[in-house]
């Protein structure tokens, strides 16, 4: 059965050796991220169709988004990816204090990002730009202009889904921090740090696409 009399404590029973475990984890996370690409991909496809149909209206609608807040948020999220990369490096080199600090910093920047998104959402609500019966648009005949409202439907769904993935990321980061405090990670074993790092970078990349698509339509 298990020939692991002298195997490390972090080696799971189904694996023959540590290399097999690490390879499986990495392949698994990349495969999962591929499914996320397909998930967001469906959304991006629908976005592309309607943007092509309604470009002038979407251009106008996009200008109501606060491009400065959006740009700042992009900077914040990219910084969080930087601290996450530092966290992986800290784990690999056995620097426990730096590891814990970098995880917390990543979490902090992520929370700032979501906080700013909260401010943006609240502003949209106050300006009657949340789709539904509350929606109003001035400057064209009628208050519920379908094409404009459709832009905001996509704005909220796309950024909302992204923010949801960030919330999941917060849970993962917090768990990681707890585990780091318990001394689970060492240069021999820091796979969860790497894997959550991959996830976090992916969430970041999604935003890097969302920002220009939604905020930077035609700002000339």
């Amino acid at each position: 059965m298990s020939a692991h009399a002298d195997s490390p404590p972090f080696l799971r029973h189904q694996f023959d050796d540590v290399l097999q475990q690490r390879t499986s984890a990495a392949l698994g996370m990349w495969a999962f991220l591929l499914t996320e690409v397909m998930f967001f991909g469906g959304l991006f496809t629908a976005y592309t169709v309607y943007r092509y149909w309604y470009y002038p209206e979407w251009d106008q609608a996009s200008r109501q988004l606060d491009v400065y807040l959006g740009a700042f948020n992009t900077f914040v999220l990219l910084t969080s990816s930087l601290t996450m990369a530092f966290a992986v490096d800290s784990a690999a080199t056995g620097k426990q204090k730096a590891l814990r600090r970098n995880i917390l910093l990543t979490l902090f920047f992520g929370i700032v990002f979501v906080g700013i998104k909260g401010i943006e959402y609240t502003t949209k609500w106050e300006h009657h730009l949340v789709p539904g019966s509350h929606f109003e648009w001035h400057g064209m005949s009628g208050l519920r202009v379908p094409a404009i409202e459709l832009f905001y439907v996509f704005y909220f769904i796309m950024t909302g889904l992204h923010a949801f993935h960030m919330l999941i990321g917060f849970g993962l980061l917090f768990t990681l921090w707890i585990q780091a405090r318990m001394g689970k990670f060492s240069p021999e074993y820091y796979t969860p740090v790497e894997m959550i790092g991959l996830y976090w970078h992916f969430v970041d990349i999604i935003w890097v696409f969302l920002f220009p698509l939604l905020y930077l339509m035609d700002r000339s």
């Binding site: 309604y54 002038p56 005949s141 009628g142």
Partner: protein
């Protein structure tokens, strides 16, 4: 309804029926041959080579030549099926010049048919034998599908977008009309009949109309809903003049241009922000909810009638003009 003793194919009543049936026959033959071949071989081998049978079993485990053969032969056959099917399909999608245009509006759970000369029918379609007919169809609500088995034709009927179907009836009689796209509770009851008549009978039937034709209805709606308030014929109103509009090419705000065909005019009435004419602001309110698809079609008919040069759209005739 024609007498139905046990049939395996429906009546053949359109110019496409024979084409489709022959193609079907070819596929049935291929399917029969291959399924019989496989069944015979499988059962045959299963019996001949059953465990305990004393037969020669010197085996091979692979043969690239055989793989090539049984990949290529099916490939050739399916390419024939594809091309043949594509050619007939192309014909189905390419109406000829001089079709008789009839408008169809589908809604839960009935078909409203409007003939250009004025006669309207519910859940039935009368057409003359031997004349190319084009149906212009739209839905008031969900997706439906206009299906006439005897013609071997169907086409989905979409909300907000026109779709079309063309055919030439080749046999008189009455045939089933079904809705073939699930559309809710009474989808099964959204059916009717297509009646193909001799041309003289059709003329007579057509002249038994009551009430206004679509052009007159459209004119009334145009005034009733104050379209002429903004769309003055001299162009001094808030909106452009609509004189001679049908078929004209319209330059749009944001670049590009569109031809003022039925779809364009329908969108202009029910979804005006979709395309705004260059030089105009997007001020026209949408009449979605106030005007039905049938109303919009009537107004389009009125605008068409007032257009001097409906040249760009594929030519259509009215029955009375041609006969």
């Amino acid at each position: 309804m024609s007498d139905h003793s046990f049939q395996v194919i429906p009546d053949m009543a359109s110019n496409f029926s024979m084409d489709v049936d022959i193609l079907y026959g070819f596929l049935v033959a291929v399917a029969l041959i291959f399924s019989t071949l496989i069944c015979v071989l499988v059962i045959g081998f299963g019996i001949y080579y059953r465990r305990g049978a004393k037969v020669d079993r010197t085996i091979e485990t692979h043969s690239n030549v055989q793989e090539l053969i049984w990949a290529s032969v099916p490939f050739v056959l399916v390419m024939i099926m594809f091309s043949w099917g594509a050619v007939v399909f192309f014909d189905m999608k390419t109406p000829p010049e001089n079709t008789l245009d009839i408008e169809v509006v589908g809604k839960q759970w009935m078909w409203k048919i409007q003939h250009a000369e004025g006669r309207t029918e519910i859940n039935s379609l009368h057409v003359p034998l031997g004349q190319a007919i084009r149906l212009r169809m739209i839905s008031e609500d969900v997706i439906h599908s206009f299906y006439v088995p005897a013609f071997r034709l169907k086409q989905d009927v979409l909300p907000a977008y026109f779709s079309q179907l063309w055919f030439t009836p080749t046999k008189t009689g009455t045939f089933h009309l079904f809705c073939a796209e699930y559309c809710g509770t009474e989808h099964s009851l959204m059916k009717g009949t297509v009646t193909v008549m001799d041309p003289q009978e059709y003329s007579q039937w057509l002249s038994e109309k009551t009430g206004d034709g679509p052009v007159q209805t459209g004119e009334k709606l145009f005034t009733q809903f104050s379209c002429d308030g903004c769309h003055k014929t001299d162009g001094t109103g808030n909106g452009p003049s609509l004189a001679g509009i049908f078929g004209k090419v319209r330059p749009l705000n944001g670049g590009g241009a569109a031809q003022a065909d039925e779809q364009y005019l329908r969108d202009a009435i029910l979804n005006p922000h979709k395309q705004v004419l260059t030089g105009y602001k997007s001020l026209m309110p949408s009449f979605q909810g106030q005007l039905t698809e049938s109303d919009a079609l009537a107004i389009i008919a009125y605008l068409k009638a007032n257009s001097q040069s409906p040249a760009a759209a594929p030519a259509s005739v009215t029955w009375n003009d041609a006969h």
